[in-house]
């Protein structure tokens, strides 16, 4: 691992295998971990990133049209998310924040399921048990100790396994968080517990430079990766806009964790090209010059340049753009057709076992609703559940 000195946060070195011109640069330490990324695999990553960006844009449009309460754009972070997500295995379990839509795609979560959260249908949206992709956690960093606890459980489950079985079936956990949430106490406690218990967890920090309106420098004087040493785990700073490098270091980190060597901290340096959410206005706190400076470092652009220079033709690019349009149309149709949820379902999901207060309130609510249904027959306004 490179030693990370206390350099200014933006100037500190990072691992890069694909530069912004699309040139694959050699790296003796990391090339072996990137070997599996041949042109075909890279085309797959590009497809994932393009799909994510297209669906992200469609979701922003849906919000602008009043069909979503809010959307959290991921533009600019596609490489960090696809590179990491594609390095995980089905038996791994991932704890996202609320911007990891591209990671979700790599885990088989349908974006339409995510829109259930952003259309006010559900607080969860998808099934973490089948996808290994946990619900979004809106209270920043609160998911990081969950990730560590989950990893502690995995380690217990894999106790006594030989190396071959661990390589085949072993799982690890990824805790996603950002530069903003790195300041939260829960990240600290999670890292303490992870190192104390040698839990198989990878802390994957997307440093996208902005915590809503607050620049990274307010969170830390030094690169976040420097903190890893203080907890006693390896730290890797990677170009988060380089999908090959992110994939390589995440593969290494997961294998390190899974094989019992303990947690790893990855700082993926990227840029939130869009607004924090659709309720945000970045023109109030950052310059166009800064934004344009990152345009050239765009994660999709460099892969496209690389693929074109290495023989991938226009047919491919045309096809995936067309495919993404189809998915976007499906997304829109699915989201607009969500059935209105019922408050009864909410009552029924508060507790796993009967709770007399909830039962009593549900009974009252149903009787109250039924009263409106009766009056509806008499021609007054129907307030019964399920209508608008």
């Amino acid at each position: 691992m490179e030693t990370m000195l206390a350099a200014a946060p933006t100037q500190a070195p990072f691992i890069q295998l694909l530069d912004s011109d699309g040139v694959r640069t050699a790296h003796p330490t990391w090339d072996p971990w990137a070997q599996s990324v041949d042109q075909e695999t890279l085309r797959g990553f590009y497809r994932d990133m393009t799909t994510a960006r297209r669906l992200d844009d469609e979701s922003t449009a849906l919000q602008r049209q009043g069909e979503l309460l809010l959307w959290v754009p991921l533009r600019g972070q596609e490489a960090a998310q696809v590179g990491a997500g594609r390095a995980t295995r089905p038996q791994d379990y991932l704890f996202p924040t609320y911007r990891e839509h591209a990671v979700a795609l790599t885990r088989g979560v349908r974006i339409a399921e995510m829109l259930r959260v952003f259309r006010g249908i559900s607080h969860g949206g998808w099934d973490p048990r089948t996808t290994g992709f946990h619900h979004y956690t809106m209270v920043l960093a609160a998911q990081t100790p969950h990730a560590v606890g989950y990893a502690m459980g995995m380690k217990r489950d894999q106790k006594g396994w030989d190396q071959a079985r661990i390589e085949e079936e072993g799982g690890a956990v990824v805790a996603f968080f950002g530069d903003g949430s790195s300041s939260e106490g829960d990240v600290h406690e999670a890292m303490v517990f992870a190192n104390s218990t040698n839990a198989p967890v990878v802390f994957f920090c997307q440093n996208n430079q902005w915590a809503i309106s607050v620049p990274f420098e307010v969170q830390s004087k030094v690169p976040l990766v420097n903190r890893a040493a203080g907890y006693g785990m390896p730290g890797i700073r990677v170009d988060g806009n380089d999908v090959i490098a992110v994939h390589a270091v995440t593969r290494w980190a997961l294998e390190h964790a899974r094989s019992g060597k303990g947690p790893v901290f990855i700082e993926a340096v990227t840029y939130r090209r869009g607004a924090h959410t659709t309720a945000d206005d970045p023109t109030k706190y950052r310059t166009q010059d800064e934004e344009q400076g990152w345009d050239e470092k765009d994660p999709l652009l460099r892969v496209e340049r690389h693929l074109r220079a290495n023989g991938t033709g226009q047919d491919f690019f045309g096809q995936i753009a067309a495919d993404a349009d189809v998915l976007a149309a499906e997304l829109r149709a699915t989201a607009l057709a969500f059935p209105t949820p019922s408050l009864t379902d909410a009552f029924n999901s508060v507790y796993a076992e009967p709770h007399s207060l909830v039962s009593e309130e549900l009974a009252w609510y149903q009787e109250y609703q039924a009263g409106f249904a009766d009056r509806d027959e008499e021609g007054t306004q129907n307030r019964a559940e399920g209508t608008r």
Binding site: Y93, H123, V139, M152, R156, F193, S349, A352, H355, S356
Partner: protein
């Protein structure tokens, strides 16, 4: 056996019977906990099932949630009531909400043991009664035993619950002795128990104040008043049926708790009883509790804590009220 030993035996039994259970907390292993509730459990069940955790409450609760998501049944210990607040976010915004967030797909059966209440002559943050803060949070179950027999069975019920449970242990009663029948399960926590039958007034109490309420009822007997005492046992849900039935017979209700009365559970009970048994009441429901101040220094805690006289005073006021209106 003592209430402390009963808890220890109950914990040993769940660890024995369910291999997915494990305990986590500060000083619970080698030391056996600052109150020795977990004494000997690490030696018996191993360092990986009775875990001396780093000193961080949010981390203890947060990793317990993760373990539960993985299929384990963690039992977390918070060393003292006043130390739960660094973990409050994890409890109220994560643990309590995960079931609903997942639309019922996920269960997080985490038990959080918290020694609570005053009367032990300690420094700040060691004598608090924060139960209302947790009872107000939907998604949690709250239990507190008042006898060794209940302690033995209710801790097992808490651990076996599919829902998260905050288990408040009445720390000043840890050394109280009582019979424990390890063969016959206690009634479910959600059922309040009439621990003393009476016909003139009802006192509702829980945890550390149950013996105080019983002593007050005994003293009232000498004045010719036949007072019923209910041990609530579960603070979420609350068994309002048992309370209401009692009030319908006695017509008078006193609720006693150590927590400050303002915003406390006594207010909730008074409101519900007014809704359910208004015409049975001979007097307003009266509350006996702590004052609206942070828990005071121990030299004055005896003036702060509800005691026999304060409960008798409330009984007097209750009876006086009816006499005036009659």
């Amino acid at each position: 056996m003592t209430l402390a030993k009963a808890l220890n035996a109950g914990l040993a039994r769940v660890l024995e019977e369910d291999p997915t259970t494990l305990m986590m907390g500060e000083d619970i292993g080698k030391l056996g906990g600052v109150y020795r509730i977990t004494e000997g459990l690490q030696a018996r069940f191993g360092e990986d099932r009775v875990i001396d955790s780093p000193l961080a409450e949010s981390g203890i609760i947060g990793t317990s949630i993760g373990l539960a998501l993985r299929g384990y049944r963690p039992i977390a210990e918070i060393q003292f009531d006043g130390f739960v607040f660094p973990g409050f976010n994890q409890i109220t915004s994560q643990l309590a909400k995960l079931r609903m967030r997942s639309e019922g797909k996920l269960t997080v059966p985490v038990t959080i043991r918290i020694p609570f209440g005053g009367g032990i002559g300690s420094i700040e943050h060691h004598s608090e009664s924060p139960e209302a803060l947790f009872a107000h949070t939907a998604g949690l179950r709250i239990m507190t035993p008042a006898t060794p027999h209940d302690a033995y069975w209710m801790i097992q019920e808490a651990v076996q619950s599919q829902d998260p449970v905050i288990f408040f242990e009445p720390k000043r009663r840890y050394w109280m002795k009582g019979d424990v029948d390890t063969e016959h399960r206690a009634a479910p926590a959600a059922q309040a128990q009439v621990v003393r039958a009476g016909s003139d007034a009802t006192i509702v109490a829980w945890g550390p104040l149950v013996p105080v309420a019983l002593a007050a009822a005994q003293a009232a007997q000498e004045d010719g008043r036949d007072v019923e005492v209910i041990d609530l046992r579960s603070l979420s849900p609350i068994d309002f049926d048992t309370i209401t039935a009692s009030v319908q017979r006695t017509g008078r209700l006193i609720v006693a708790h150590e927590a400050p009365t303002f915003g406390g559970l006594g207010g909730e009970i008074a409101a519900r009883v007014a809704e359910r048994a208004f015409y049975a009441l001979e007097a307003p429901v009266l509350r006996v509790g702590g004052f609206h101040m942070p828990y005071p220094p121990s030299k004055v805690e005896s003036h702060y804590l509800p005691d026999i006289d304060r409960i008798l005073d409330a009984l007097d006021r209750s009876f006086q009220h009816s006499e005036v209106s009659a």
